[in-house]
């Protein structure tokens, strides 16, 4: 129906400048996100530029090169894996496909720092893998024979790709599923053999989705600090860190952070540019493509091919963690700290998720209501936080929140003779604020994607039937975008649970999450004591995988 040409201007006829409340609300949201960036900016200006001549002559070229190589490598490998696997389960049917379809998302559950640690241990010369290789080859000691060290740029690229490819898989598969079978049939009647459909039709049509997935992957790779630090890759993010911590130069660190931000802005612009054309592909409806059935040996072969990334990206590290956790349990029992950590972890992640969801919906809805320049501008500002490393966000938030807390405390002391203490930091609000800044792009993005599937005429219908803009949101948009909002919310939930740098810097007294516990142990080299916490993080991470697999299966929701 939607394909019947409407009158020309209908696509952009939403009223201009008439939703002050929504724009104002979204503007406040954007302001909250931008404030820490501004604080960092003024910090950076306050610093000297002396650092740069040193950096430019020493680590900056290497850090830039490492960063770009890392991005290139992860982009290529994760992109290749994601797209190929998405096509594998969309165009082919084989034994086990149903399970594989969602199992391919499982690596999302494994944080990069955990996968790095697990593989370092497994692949270490004294680890299980090389031990087996030596046994087969008949060597007795690692001094006689060992494989190359995983601690390298190549190793980092490989490991990050293994756990990050699901972003590409997810977006691309949704796109393949929403491609009308008619298009593919048309290509076949025009003489394209089935095996060429992928390259000639499906792939070009899915390009925007691939770009979105790859840019998400790259953003994650760029923000990663755990795995990079662990594997000895000196990215810009690591440089920010050492400049701040070792050189005790916060201003210099923020200057590098701004450079990183520039790279990310370029990345984001590329993604938006790619997404600009998405509308025209997803508009098509109708039958989705019928996969080609393979049984017997070929079917089993395809299945095995698809299972490989799941094995390396999820099963191996998860089994490793489970074994470590089991050993630990036998050795030291279940620490009662874990219960408190579970409560803190879930409460903070839950609260932040809820808030992030609400604010994300506000930003996306304002974008829908004012498609002029204000809406998109506000939306973009509101979603810049995802582009910044957690450390940077954390410092920015601290620079904003602490003066506020001091002000409130000072005023309370002056007027009432009562100390409020640190209102925002002490209550954990500051931490939740940082989570929101960091992850708002996820919920805003999924709300935006969900809203894009709701025809504008439904808004108009609801309005003429007596509902206000807000009433329309509640009665029409929220029910219709439920699935994609749920998916976004769960991603945020899991990201909050995995989040480390901001949690470390901004948490109130006595608060310990799974991630901070894990880090605390890792920092003194006693990872094994945190293997239960690590396993818990991975298990919680499986939740969104289950939901996302359902959302992906039904492209209309």
């Amino acid at each position: 129906m939607a394909l019947v040409a409407g009158t020309a201007p209908s696509a952009q006829t939403a009223p201009r400048g008439r939703r002050p409340i929504w724009c104002l609300a979204a503007g406040i949201v954007a302001g909250l996100v931008v404030l820490p960036v501004l604080a960092l900016g003024s910090e950076a200006i306050g610093g000297s530029l002396g650092l740069w001549s040193h950096l430019a002559g020493t680590i900056l070229p290497a850090a830039l090169a490492d960063t770009l190589l890392l991005l290139l490598g992860v982009g290529l490998i994760a992109g290749f894996l994601g797209v190929t696997l998405a096509w594998l389960v969309t165009a082919h049917d084989f034994p086990g496909r149903g399970i594989l379809e969602w199992a391919l998302l499982l690596p999302l559950a494994v944080p990069t720092y955990i996968v790095a640690y697990a593989y370092l241990d497994i692949l270490h010369p004294i680890g299980a893998f090389q031990g087996a290789v030596r046994w087969i080859l008949g060597y007795s000691s690692p001094r006689e024979f060992r494989l190359p060290d995983i601690r390298s740029l190549a190793g980092c690229v490989l490991l990050l790709s293994l756990v990050l490819y699901p972003y590409v898989y997810l977006t691309t598969r949704a796109m393949f599923l929403s491609q009308s079978a008619n298009l593919l049939d048309a290509a076949r009647t025009l003489g394209t053999p089935r095996r060429r459909l992928f390259r000639r039709v499906a792939l070009p049509l899915a390009r925007p989705a691939i770009a979105v997935g790859v840019s998400l992957t790259l953003m994650e790779a760029l923000n990663d600090i755990g795995a990079s630090e662990f594997l000895g890759v000196r990215t810009l993010t690591v440089s920010i860190y050492t400049t701040w911590v070792t050189k005790n130069d916060l201003a210099g660190a923020t200057q590098i952070a701004l450079l990183l931000l520039a790279i990310v802005v370029a990345l984001v612009s590329f993604e938006r540019w790619a997404r600009r054309r998405q509308g025209y592909v997803s508009g098509s409806r109708g039958r989705t493509m019928q996969p080609e059935r393979h049984d017997g040996l070929k079917g089993i072969g395809l299945c095995a091919l698809g299972v490989l990334p799941v094995v390396f990206g999820f099963v191996v590290p998860a089994v490793y963690l489970a074994a470590e956790a089991w050993k630990r349990w036998r050795f030291a029992g279940l620490s009662d700290r874990l219960v408190g950590e579970a409560v803190d972890t879930l409460l903070y992640a839950g609260g932040a998720t809820l808030l992030t969801l609400v604010l994300g919906v506000v930003a996306a809805f304002a974008l829908r209501l004012s498609p002029g320049w204000t809406g998109p501008l506000i939306y973009r500002l509101a979603t810049t936080g995802y582009a910044m490393p957690g450390t940077v966000v954390a410092i920015g938030v601290l620079l904003v929140v602490a003066p506020f807390d001091r002000l409130v405390d000072g005023a309370a002391r002056d007027w009432f003779g009562v100390s409020t203490g640190l209102l925002l930091i002490g209550s954990g609000t500051a931490l939740i604020y940082a989570y929101v800044v960091r992850f708002l792009a996820i919920t805003a993005g999924s709300a935006d994607a969900g809203l894009a599937r709701v025809p504008k005429s439904l808004d108009d219908a609801a309005r003429t039937l007596g509902r206000s803009a807000g009433g329309t949101l509640c009665a029409v948009h929220l029910p219709l975008t439920r699935a994609s909002l749920a998916a976004g919310a769960l991603l945020v939930f899991v990201d909050c649970i995995k989040e480390l740098p901001a949690t470390l810097l901004l948490r109130p007294l006595n608060m310990e999450t799974f991630a901070t516990h894990l880090y605390g142990e890792a920092a003194r080299g006693t990872y094994e004591e945190a293997s239960l916490a690590a396993l818990a993080i991975v298990l919680i991470g499986i939740l969104p995988v289950i939901v996302l697999s359902r959302v992906g299966r039904n492209p209309s929701s």
Binding site: H54, T58, I59, A62, H124, P125, I126, P142, R143, E144, R146, D149, R151, S152, E229, L231, G232, R234, Y241, T242, V245, T246, K247, N248, R328, V343, D344, L347, T391, A394, I395, L398, L399, A402, P403, D405, R406, D409, S419, T420, G421, L422, L423, I425, G426, S427, G428, T429, L504, L505, P508, L509, N510, E512, G520, R524, G525, T526, E528, E529
Partner: protein
């Protein structure tokens, strides 16, 4: 949320009636100080609240200003303690107990910070390696080419060592030495101090630079059987500077400038310098206690007599930034 409710109750309660707790901001891993906190709480009945801030402790206390609830600031590395003083977030404590327990070179001359334990930056060598003594200078000797493991050059443990090298030999010689050490590395400068022991067991390298207490943590079996194997695969050599001793670094604490519970804070510091607490430092954390007469853990004692390098901690701190820049300059971590 629990903390929010806490925040609200603080808001409602009048300032004076709140029970006195000690609030600790620490960059020491919670596992390391928990035994000390537990035994202090048991001995005094004062409740202790902690937040482990890996990095950014100074930034947080500075920005919190006089509203900060922090009483005690605990940190590893003298540099971090000096930073806190430089940023003006500490206060001097005039305590006879502390002065008596802690040797002068392990505390601030203006009484702002106090070292509570120290550790040596030592060399781990493969057990069967024919090596009995080594100097830091030797580490750059080409005969070790492809045989040395070390963590990131930018890690504070290493920048402190390199800063000490600058104090001994000057920046130029240090650069040459660092370049030589870099050339000797068997793998990227990354990971942690235990990884180097594992790497020696794995045949990746023959010698490595790491902190003394990790050996205790590994060999004691607290980290499981595997780590015992790592710890047993190495022997510890106490390296020295050609013209000095073994480089050490401290863990220490200061009382926050705006400490709301200063009395309890001082009490806590004094407890940490007591024989009981110092024993925990030695036994549970395998560190060198600052208080004279407290016995070392046998594992640590087995390394032999430690000759502490004489460079004052304050001077090492001054060279820290230069050391970090040299690390960049020679591409140590690349």
């Amino acid at each position: 949320m629990r903390q929010m409710l806490l925040g609200l109750t603080t808001l409602l309660a009048t300032a004076g009636t709140a029970a006195a707790d000690v609030n600790i901001y620490t960059t020491r891993e919670p596992g390391l100080i928990q035994p000390l906190i537990d035994s202090f709480a048991k001995a005094t009945g004062v409740a202790v609240n902690t937040v482990f801030l890996k990095d950014g402790l100074a930034e947080r206390v500075v920005t919190e200003g006089e509203s900060s609830p922090a009483d005690i600031l605990m940190a590893v590395d003298a540099g971090n303690l000096v930073d806190l003083v430089d940023k003006g977030v500490t206060q001097p404590i005039d305590s006879a107990v502390l002065k008596e327990a802690i040797p002068a070179q392990l505390r601030d001359e203006n009484d702002h910070w106090f070292g509570l334990s120290y550790r040596a930056r030592v060399v781990y060598a493969a057990k069967d390696l024919d090596l009995a003594a080594i100097t830091y200078e030797d580490l750059a000797d080409p005969k070790w080419k492809g045989k040395v493991c070390i963590r990131s050059g930018q890690h504070p443990y290493n920048t402190a060592l390199f800063a000490d090298y600058i104090a001994h030999h000057g920046a130029e010689a240090t650069e040459t030495w660092l370049a030589g050490l870099k050339a000797n590395l068997a793998r990227k400068a990354a990971g942690g101090d235990r990884d180097v022991a594992r790497d020696i067991l794995g045949g990746i390298c023959d010698i490595a630079v790491a902190n003394s207490y990790y050996v205790g943590l590994m060999r004691s079996g607290a980290g499981g059987e595997e780590q015992v194997a790592w710890g047993e695969a190495i022997k510890v050599i106490l390296p020295t500077f050609e013209d000095g001793g073994t480089q050490v670094n401290i863990s220490g604490a200061a009382v926050a400038k705006h400490s709301p519970n200063k009395d309890e804070a001082v009490k806590f510091l004094e407890y940490l310098a007591s024989g009981e607490a110092q024993e925990i430092y030695a036994k549970a954390n395998y560190e060198y206690p600052v208080k004279a007469g407290v016995a070392l853990d046998p594992i640590i004692a087995s390394f032999g007599e430690l000759t502490v390098d004489k460079t004052p901690l304050g001077e090492i701190v001054k060279h820290r930034k230069a050391a970090s820049e040299l690390v960049d300059k020679v591409g140590f971590d690349g």
